[in-house]
Amino acid sequence: MNLTLPLHKVNEPDRQRVGGKGFALAMMARESLTVPEAICITTEAYHQYMRSTGLRDNLVMVLYRKAFKDMRWEEIWDAALRIRNLFLKTAIPTELRAILAPPIESTFAEKAVSVRSSAPGEDSSKTSFAGLHESYVNIRGTEAIFEHIRLVWASLWSDRALLYRQELGLDVDKSAMAVVVQEMISGERSGVVFGRSPVDESQAVVEAVYGLNQGLVDGTVEPDRWILRRNTGQILSHSPAQREKVLNPAPLGTRLENLPPELREKAPLTESDVSDVFQLAMRAESFFKSPQDVEWTYLKKRLHALQSRPITTGATPDGDERLRYLSLHRSFDNLKELWTKIEKDLIPAMEAEAAILADIDLTGLSDADLADEIERRIGIHKKWQDAYWRDCIPFAHGMRMFGQVYNDVVHPKDPFEFMDLLKGTRMVSIQRNQILEDLAGWLRKDPQLAECLRLKGLEDCDSAFREAFNNLSNTFGDLTWGETSFIQDPRQLVGFLLEMTDRPPKNGSKPLKDIDSLEGNFLSLFEEAQKTYATEMLDLARASYRLRDDDNIYLGKIEGQMRNTLNEGKRRIERVFGTDLGALETKEILKTLRNRHRKPKKSSPPPPGAPTQGLKENFHIKARQIVGQPAGPGIAFGKARVVLEPADLFAFKTGEILVCDAVDPNMTFVVPLAAGIVERRGGMLIHGAIIAREYGLPCVTGVAGAATSIKTGDTVTVDGYLGIVIIGETRLEKKKGPDEITRNA
């Protein structure tokens, strides 16, 4: 068995075992092109590692716990992180090490290397999945090389690869990853050449940047571009870039730096360099027998080929949702810019806009003006919703990026330990809940006031309390969910406060005493020179965690202002046509406001459910145990409250299990009453999971059909350790486990 192969020993029969990248490098070396010295770690090494450590069976457990069709991208990301952690925690066994280490040590000693993925089959010209697997540059020393070999192996199961699992034919038993360990060439100028342009077959394209070409490949550094005539090599055009940045080697891989001023005015390649690079692609094409896309770098005037692969012709179909997901992967620098934009720009602008809208006296508008105002506000809401999708959703990736960095340096047992480090960041919804808690505390101390509220209502009781109650909306905007505006009709919220007073006080966001020690430990693992980077990364992740929630609240304020106009319109219509109109569609409200003689059409009732003819059938099916994702540790037992509409929220009783499609940030005020959370939407880093963690509640997400399989009043057990929901009475022995089992039924 060949576990390692130096390039000069790679032959045609080794194509699969060294993977596409390794094989192409070997071919180029044989044809006397300048390529960095390299050793291929073959797929047999991967298989041996997976078999002898038992990792293969663990992988099956993580990967197939749910059907892929039931998994959203958030869950796929979580699964990939868990898998990555398995590889990080599982050392290469001694026997395997003894075989892999000698060739690596004798070839590279202390030289810096790149550790690159080389997937079998990736050189086929039908598929292009560049960037699905990981490669690492600037790695030094045997230990670090071994660790990065494992990370490259893990990337066979990266979130991106899992999205393309069908095209890649991913299969735990059959799939394998080869690795190329390659001498690091820190070229001064680098780039890519396409031997045939993807857009015009008669042309070739050369792209070049200063520094490492990783900056070009991942899109952080804009390249200069030359178009050449393919059959003559004549340069047809040159489009210079705004040359500002350069990616350089750094202690932690690479660092984006400002390009020195003297280089900004100068193209990275001379015309003669461009021709040499083009000739490199032509040479490669002559022996690979198909047009090639070659990555290259110039080190001290010498042109090195770093890798070569066939140019793919298969286009990705339009509207492939996965492309949007891939676009969520951002660089650290890009995320830092987003952060500034969201916090300094978007959120203040949203707040200002909401405040201006709140100042407009709707009752003073004519009906026609009100209709115009409704349309204007729908437009405003749409504008902010778009901004939310464009900037806020990608910013949530900051948590994910941090999670990976954290796991890389800390190697925690729990791959989501990093979430604990992000807690207690004073999220707006937690602050809002604190105010509700304070109001409930007021009522607990003043039973007479509570009784008055119960009998008479807010208007006829203590005015100081009323003022404090109304302040809630001034500080945090109207609590809005769907059609209901709670401040306009305070009865429900008052009822809810009274429910809160009936149970002992509870505070959210208890900062864990170990946050400090987790933070200290994390930072201590970085060398002095990298500490700033580590701190910045942590700050970014905390902002990402907090804003994941906050931005929704601000968007909720805008939505509340939009709803206010609609409600005002509906009230006016009801004054004329009576209150039995039921829910009205927006376009009906608009039409009637503009023409008072037109009676609005009732919205058609929801289509009836599936025909009930199956009743005669004796068989009926019932979910007993549903597998989701563990999103908040702990076990809770209680009656389910399925929340489908606002009324369900206000009916919420202490100790119930909150079951919903997705925890809307504007629903979070009931969370302190809940014993546990079950949510259809999946993942560890979604809003519901974050809130559950803040309150230390057992939480299971990604429960397919949560709001349909479970009915209000069902007894459910939420196992937040294993990510399982059990429906029906369960005779749970009350054992003192790692956490005491919570019983609330």
Binding site: D57, Y64, N618, F619, H620, I621, R624, Q625, V627, I724
Partner: protein, 150 residues
Amino acid sequence: MNDLKAYKKDLKSLFASQHTGVLATQQDGQPYTSLVAFASSEDLKDLFFATMRATRKFANLSPDSRVAMLIDNRSNIPSDFQWAMGVTVTGRAEELADPEKQTSLTAYLAKHPHLEDFVSSPGCAFLRIRVDTYYVVTRFQKVVEIHVRS
């Protein structure tokens, strides 16, 4: 419900693929399990198996006809946890006599032709389990109940 349809299909193919199941009976609260060759009715309402009247399982059934049976397609490898399907059937067992016995027995022998001598021997009883509920476990922990009679 499409789910039910899909599950019925899975049950049928599981019952067709498996020859034996583990039958549980009890006496005085002491559980007792036995491996039996089984067959299922087309409508999934009944299961059939045969046993000698002298066996402990047969004796256990006369004071208490309640049974459970486990039918699964595990391959005895770790990935069974994800890929194997396990079905626990609960119901009541009763010995069949003609004419009912003949039709069911024909179907049973079509699945287990090598048991012809066994089931036609005088000491052998042919039994039907009237199914109350199927408890279907897939992917290690996904569980649904299919109630047949309740």
